[in-house]
């Protein structure tokens, strides 16, 4: 292997929340064989894979250690139109998949709220979307993947082949090995549009009632919640729920049902002052957002606007300025879920910490992923700017989440401590056992793994 394949760049790196920022040694392999060579080279003590950097915290960071950028290992390998099965390298982004396959009539069966995520990242976090109540997670449509183990072995993993490793890797934050390629099942669709019903809910109670009652009618369901509204308006929300639009139902002005509508995008080219987003400005925005929406049904919305509203603003994370922000997402089980959400929203409103709209969804059945986040119940995601006292505040929320039997989402997390993590994820011991078997030397490690006590410091 030539010397060039092992060169690296030492740079400060951060997740999407731009907090924390850590010095990492970044490798950028351009050939698949280089990944194994880098792992075997001894150039760094440990490595973690990095896709498009949309995890918010330190999941894809490795302080003073190696980081593998997969962005150039992004080739499409095969596609079978009859089954919708696509095989591609782990660095392929969901955006690329949509770019090439939506025109052919295929959509992602499960997609998170941004398309700038790699297939490898989607597996590592076992991402979910607005359709978990019907379809589950990304892993539910993952047929198999090829994992490069720390020992240098290439293993095919699926629910029937090396299943223990499959379920450890799904949601395993890249700690079991390096996923080099995967086969996923795409969903046939007739158009690039979704029929959406918008409904306002006065408060959390009404939002949850509406979701519980009628989510079954929708493939996709999400509620945008005003986290600053207090008192009677606690948890007032706008529900957006929809189904794929069949081609024959589209109005005649739509010439090509599968074409992406023209994409206007804006780029936030610089950081906004950190204090711009505070409880006053954000509170005002949230109130306006809620007021502006009306109860309307059967709105034809293009897939970009419905699934990826924030992707239109490149670098939207700059809204929070240089200090960055933390996204806090948690899931609560059905039983006691209402009460748990109410308690957390009340605590949040009292704190006057400026959270833009929170995102509320219902979760359906969990899968067998050992560290997979979703469990049947509710999930709420909020952005919080990094200001004084944020970490203790979040730990307080952690305790509230724990007392309701819930857990925090690792793909967003930046501050959870090892103790709380262990309580939230009862299958941690099983994961550790498989991890130790595959990686006794701890070749795969990340700042998150050490913070959460998954690996030794």
């Amino acid at each position: 292997m030539s010397l060039q394949g092992l060169s690296f760049v030492t740079r400060p790196l951060s997740g999407w929340g731009r907090y924390p920022v850590e010095r990492c040694h970044i490798f950028r392999p351009e050939k698949r064989a280089e990944v194994a060579a880098i792992l075997a080279s001894g150039a760094q003590r440990s490595y973690v894979s990095h896709g498009l950097g949309r995890s918010y915290g330190d999941a894809a960071l490795n302080h003073d250690g190696g980081v593998l950028w997969h962005t150039r290992l992004n080739r499409l390998l095969s596609f079978e139109a009859s089954s919708g099965v696509l095989e591609c390298e782990a660095g392929t982004s969901l955006a690329e998949i949509l770019q090439y396959f939506l025109p052919r009539g295929f959509f992602l069966t499960v997609t998170p709220g941004t398309k700038f995520v790699t297939v490898g990242g989607a597996i590592a976090a076992d991402v979910h979307g607005k359709n978990h109540h019907k379809d589950g997670t990304f892993g539910n449509f993952l047929l198999d993947f090829k994992l490069l183990t720390p020992a240098g072995e290439l293993m095919v993993c699926s629910p029937t082949s090396n299943p223990d490793i499959f379920w450890a890797t799904l949601g395993g934050m890249g700690l079991t090995g390096v996923v080099l390629s995967a086969r996923i099942r795409l969903r046939p669709v007739q158009s690039a549009y979704v029929w959406v019903d918008y409904q306002k809910a006065r408060d959390l109670e009404e939002a949850l009632r509406l979701m519980d009652e009628s989510d079954y009618r929708y493939q996709y369901s999400v509620a945008w919640i005003d986290c600053l509204a207090a008192g009677k308006s606690l948890g007032r929300a706008v529900l957006m729920r929809g189904n794929h639009a069949p081609a024959e139902q589209l109005p005649s002005r739509v010439r090509n049902p599968l074409a992406r509508p023209s994409q206007r995008s804006w780029n936030l080219a610089f950081d906004l002052p950190s204090r711009l987003l505070n409880s006053l400005t954000v509170g005002a925005f949230n109130a306006l957002y809620y007021a502006w929406h009306r109860n309307v049904a059967n709105q034809l919305v293009d897939f970009e606007r419905f699934f990826y509203p924030l992707d239109a603003i490149e670098n939207w994370n700059r809204l929070y300025g240089k200090r960055g922000f933390v996204q806090y997402q948690f899931a609560l089980p059905l039983e006691g879920g209402h009460a748990g959400l109410t308690a957390i929203l009340e605590r949040l409103a009292r704190s006057r910490r400026a959270s833009f709209l929170g995102v509320l969804k219902r979760f359906g059945e969990a899968n067998a992923g050992l560290l997979s986040f979703p469990l049947p119940g509710y999930t709420l995601a909020l952005d919080l700017p990094v200001t004084n006292g944020l970490v203790p505040f979040l730990h307080e929320l952690d305790r509230l989440v724990l007392s309701s039997g819930g857990r925090v989402y690792l793909a967003k997390d930046a501050v959870l401590n090892a103790e709380s993590f262990a309580s939230m994820y009862p299958k941690l011991e099983q994961f550790r056992e498989i991890k130790h078997r595959l990686d006794p030397q701890g070749l795969l490690s990340s700042s998150m793994a050490r913070r959460l006590g998954i690996v030794e410091k």
Binding site: S7, V9, R32, L77
Partner: protein
């Protein structure tokens, strides 16, 4: 549909060039040493652009084997083959090459001799047909020897001169010869190296290569400003240049 042969197809620039030609409806013949990478690349380009892709094993360093492997490849490509893009390069370890003749040979053979022997075969092929294009990627490093990469630079410089002569010879047969001189490009060749500037993306360079070919240019610096940077660099008197820490 017309086709193009790309030699050294597995590098980042080559991949971008292949994609650029494919997006303009060219079928692709991808030649290189690494079959696994070539197959993945061929599959990817076929899936993204819907063009036909073929792979061909070819090692520029296998100096005796060119006639057999490259010759066959050209014949098989048939009448549809419009031209060839040669993207073979090896930066090497110049420090090691000072004492290790094998490394020195490798730098020279990969960047010059191997390319020339391959280009000879390609030139003969197109000369007989009185049409086509030959595009080879040299480097700004070939414009002036400097202490940190003069083995690479001299090989690329020699390649540029060879291409000049070839351009002269083949002009009379209506075959275009295009010399591409990229500056610093963001690939594994430059990744992690300090003191680089104005790093261009492989996509940008690939677009420039495609434009240069279709517009029948002779010598193209990519991005364009390197032409003027190198003009200045070449203008520095040797008496001064030799004192610099380049």
């Amino acid at each position: 549909m017309p086709s193009v042969l790309i030699l050294g197809a597995t590098s980042a620039i080559a991949r971008a060039v292949a994609a650029e030609f494919a997006s303009h409806r060219y079928d692709l013949i991808l030649a290189g040493r690494d079959q696994e990478e070539l197959s993945a690349l061929a599959a990817d380009l076929n899936l993204r652009y819907g063009v036909r892709t073929k792979t061909h094993l070819l090692d520029v360093l296998d100096l005796e084997g060119h006639e057999a492997s490259l010759g066959t490849c050209l014949v098989e490509a048939g009448e549809a083959l419009e031209g060839v893009v040669l993207l073979v390069g090896y930066l090497g370890d110049e420090a090691a090459a000072r004492t290790d003749p094998r490394e020195a040979r490798r730098i020279l053979d990969t960047n010059f001799t191997g390319c020339v022997l391959a280009l000879n075969i390609i030139a003969n092929h197109f000369e007989q047909r009185h049409k086509g294009f030959i595009c080879a990627v040299s480097s700004v490093a070939g414009d002036r020897g400097r202490q940190s990469n003069y083995l690479y630079g001299s090989a690329k410089g020699a390649l540029s001169i060879y291409l000049q002569g070839l351009r002269n010879r083949l002009h009379h047969s209506q075959v275009r010869v295009v010399t591409i001189k990229p500056g610093f490009v963001d690939t594994r060749m430059t990744f992690g190296r300090p003191k680089l500037f104005l790093l261009a993306s492989p996509d940008r360079v690939a677009r420039g290569i495609y434009q240069a070919v279709v517009r029948g240019k002779n010598v193209v610096y990519l991005p364009w400003f390197w032409r003027y940077i190198m003009l200045l660099v070449r203008a520095i008197p040797e008496g001064i240049f030799k004192r610099l820490r380049t």
